[in-house]
Symmetry: C2
Subunit: 372 residues, 2 copies
């Protein structure tokens, strides 16, 4: 039995307490300043209001003021903030970490450097460590398809833990693998985390086709649109060839970006890429945003309809398209290799019509070439 401290009490961070407690670990769940109401609720009744589930009874819920105490003696720290909380985590949690205690970050994203670099969060976090701790705290991260509700319900879930330190990855995997949480290992941080970040962007791209088809059968108010994009909802206008074309183009462009990041591009076609993209298009904010844009609703209006929630897809599209443009200026990439990415950017930023540029899509390489 070990002590696992989860920092960030959002849905995914909190759901990680399920395999952790099932394996007999002592779990401390620490809220960020934004999670105050969640922690209060868990303390009062055990109920997690956004995960909409009772938490495992043994979980000790802590407010952010209790962070120091919660980190004491921890054998593993899970970074459970969203991508918008990653700097808070770097500022407030990293300095408190003990040497040699591994960190498992479930935050998915890429950090854009000024020179077109795209840095996976585990590497970014490592660079934010105080100098004396660098290289002495092993960072791991998660990729692969995992809806937090389903993990909390002990549904079969298959993910990849990655990190530069293979032994730390193995150790963390052994702590958290259960009969339903199936974990494989990788040392390819750029590959796994590149896919984990990019799939949010591309899930929006695939969802454009959902909105385009849906619009044909009549307009919707925003509440109906929200209901229709819930997991399991019927498709009002079931049309799948365009979605499948966008899905495949997404995998292709993800593989090209992963290669630029220095990762193994084939990961884009298996669990971290295609697998995670598959799960992401079945519901949630990203699908709702893509569907609204596909219906021809301009982004500022769509964002309002989504109550201005933070949209990771938008952040990733902006960050990656900016980086690719910088690299293209230096002649390192061809922007024409990413027609779907730049189409999504044009829809978001320029109010371009949602119809994707299918004629520009296609395979390249040794075995297939673009249509024109």
């Amino acid at each position: 039995m070990s002590i696992i401290t989860i920092v960030g009490a959002g849905m995914m961070g909190s759901a990680m307490s399920r395999p952790a407690t099932d394996n007999g670990h002592r779990v401390r769940l620490v809220g960020t300043p934004l999670d105050r109401a969640i922690i209060d609720s868990i303390r009062t009744s055990g109920y997690h209001p956004t995960l909409r589930r009772q938490m495992p009874e043994s979980v000790e819920a802590c407010q952010v003021e209790e962070l120091d105490r919660a980190l004491e003696g921890a054998d593993l720290v899970i970074g459970g903030v969203s991508s918008f909380g990653v700097e808070w985590f770097a500022d407030h949690v990293l300095p408190k970490l003990r040497m040699n205690v591994p960190v498992l970050s479930i935050t998915k994203g890429l950090n854009g450097g000024g020179d077109g670099e795209l840095i996976p969060f585990p590497h970014h976090l490592e660079s934010r460590l105080p100098p004396e701790k660098r290289g002495r705290i092993p960072f791991c991260a998660v990729g692969g398809p995992c809806i937090s509700f389903e993990l909390a319900d002990r549904r079969h879930t298959m993910v990849v833990f990655c990190g530069s330190d293979g032994r730390a990855v193995s150790k963390v995997r052994r702590m958290l693998t259960t009969g339903y949480y199936h974990v494989s290992e990788s040392t390819d941080v750029a590959g796994v985390e590149g896919c984990a970040a990019l799939k949010n962007a591309y899930a929006m791209g695939v969802s454009l086709a959902v909105g385009i088809a849906d619009r044909e059968v009549g307009e919707l108010d925003s509440e109906s649109a929200k209901a229709l994009c819930s997991p399991g909802a019927p498709d009002r206008n079931p049309v799948y060839n365009p979605q499948a074309a966008l899905f495949a183009q997404s995998c292709l462009e993800m593989s090209r970006i992963v290669r630029l990041l220095g990762g193994d591009e084939t990961l884009a076609g298996v669990l971290p890429g295609a697998g995670d993209l598959f799960v992401t298009i079945f519901g949630g904010r990203t699908r709702r945003l893509g569907s609204l844009l596909g219906r021809g609703i301009p982004f500022p209006e769509a964002r309002e309809m989504l109550h201005n929630v933070t949209l990771e897809a938008v952040a990733i599209i902006r960050c990656v398209s900016r980086a690719l443009r910088l690299r293209a200026e230096r002649g390192e990439v061809r922007l024409s290799d990413f027609p779907l990415l730049f189409h999504m950017e044009a829809v978001l930023e320029g109010g371009a019509p949602p119809e994707p540029p299918y004629a520009l899509f296609g395979e390249t390489g040794k075995s297939a070439c673009p249509a024109e």
Copy 2:
């Protein structure tokens, strides 16, 4: 304007008349002996009873007795039979083909040889040509996600035409590409057609999870089960982590089989593999079969509930697992690299419980390794 003769008046063969006529070609649609009622209906009213659409007016529908006349002067012959009609096509159509007139086969499948070989249909058909015609009739084939109804409705559809003769592939692509039918090219017949065949098998695998989840919310009679597996139907029990795990494992195993066939394994992660698998799991016979098996219904009973329709998934699972076993005996492959395939075989042939062996799944190779 050219003359295009389509042999086989099933749904996909008939749907190909849409891009063909839109490009101004003269189309002759010839039924097989099994298509007599379809051809009668088209002649009488223009209505295709299984495609459930009016055919383009200019299509000339012919019964099988008119085959010779229909092939006269054809610039392209489209082989539109199902995989169960491929020997009929070889026996009755191949001998009548003229030299240098390309054939585009939309039949998806693999032919198992006695020694563990798996031969894509275009290669199999080439081998069935009369000796004097071998090498003188260019065979092309189609891969990628295409639901026939949607092609008939001019939905954006992205496919790959492949063939050993790159110039013939380009020619056929130019004849059929339209503003909605987006065609790229490949000379990797084993890669493209391997994926095209395998995706039927693996779509059944992914659908097991649909049935397993669905069973939790109560039993269904076969008619309700059929309705629920129709495209666009709501998911009674929306659970996606297991489906996504199976989807990713499918892509991984497809890539391994494609490599054994001598094809480019990365095709399994883009349009011919992941893209086509995506579309296939959204509805139709394969999903229905997988869902019924997932509910714990034994295969003989499930087959009856599906009115004993021909099931391409079953044929492919049998053919590929037999071939891999033969190769494993010779030490050429490890059966443990294909846990999902052999699980599907065990469910079909041995009545094994449907729960997939998730713990055996996982990435291998340079960047990720299995959980155990």
